[in-house]
């Protein structure tokens, strides 16, 4: 009887130890270092989801790289949607604070990106709910940098940070 009791006690001790160590570490890792996400929608075609709804890309999101809110023009980033805080959107950074850019379909033809904000656009213009709809977004909404496509296997690749030349800013701010 004493032996069975000892077994139960050791089991619970191991369980609590695992729970209070593993869960916070895992949660902190997913919040602060990296996580994965499935991309939905066509706003970043052809870079992401070229197959449409048949096969959604799964991307690796790197939180660590944006912990100081440092992004570059051409990066693909995920951010909290300014119109719906329950949703995350994934777009390409087109302009940083201080840049003046020519917009597509925005109410103003030229926009100067305010301090602490960035201008993001989907690669599939016209099918993208991006800064051309909701204006510059605050850097505080930045969630992660998308660095690689992990699934499907035939689409394994590192996502390049490339700014389409026709979308480069009219006036670039001094770094």
């Amino acid at each position: 009887m004493a032996q069975a009791h000892g077994w139960v006690k050791r089991y619970f001790k191991a369980f609590y130890k695992g729970f209070f160590v593993a869960v916070p570490v895992a949660v902190t890792f997913l919040d602060r270092v990296a996580c994965v996400a499935r991309v939905e929608g066509a706003s970043m075609q052809p870079s992401l989801n070229p197959g449409g709804s048949q096969s959604s890309d799964v991307v690796l999101l790197n939180h660590w790289k944006v912990r100081n809110f440092e992004v570059h023009r051409g990066d693909i980033v995920s951010l909290v949607s300014p119109k719906n805080p329950e949703q995350k959107i994934i777009k390409r950074v087109i302009a940083l604070e201080g840049d003046i850019i020519r917009t597509i379909g925005h109410k103003n033809r030229y926009v100067k990106v305010p301090r602490g904000h960035i201008w993001v656009e989907g690669d599939h213009h016209g099918h993208s709910f991006d800064s051309n709809s909701f204006g510059p977004v605050s850097l505080g909404l930045l969630h992660a940098l998308a660095t690689h496509i992990l699934w499907p296997p035939e689409r394994w690749q590192k996502l390049e940070s490339v700014l389409p030349p026709e979308r480069s800013p009219v006036v670039q701010s001094e770094e």
Binding site: F20, V21, V23, P24, V25, V27, T28, F29, D31, R32, N68, F69, V80, S81, P82, K83, N84, P85, E86, P114, R115, G116, H117, V137, S138, L139, G140, L141, L142
Partner: protein, 166 residues
Amino acid sequence: MLRGVLGKTFRLVGYTIQYGCIAHCAFEYVGGVVMCSGPSMEPTIHNSDIVFAENLSRHFYGIQRGDIVIAKSPSDPKSNICKRVIGLEGDKIITTSPSDFFKNHSYVPMGHVWLEGDNLQNSTDSRYYGPIPYGLIRGRIFFKIWPLSDFGFLRESPNTERFADD
């Protein structure tokens, strides 16, 4: 001797990581103690007051009109601002001061909130930078713990005429 030191170092690093992760989860999902600076929330919160903020309301989308929130500054993501929620999405906000003759109003866009400090004369808030996205809100302040003379739940807004009827 070296193995003993190495073993101790690994254990120390292990504990640091473990407690750091527990601290992250506590601050991110439950709440924490915050020190406020600046005069923009007087008389409710004064400079160098210490308050308790909870982050559950933000995750469950339960922030309401009249709540005092901590949010990331829209123009500087590394600093925080502490203001009261005057309007939620869809609310009608009077953007001109009460002394103006012609009243100008606008509606708070979807997914945004309108923030104002209680010290209207000395507060840079949504009247200056416009409504801010809900996603910038980090937590809700509901309890003051320092100074002890002011210990307790926080007061209602002293500026009740800022809340327009929706």
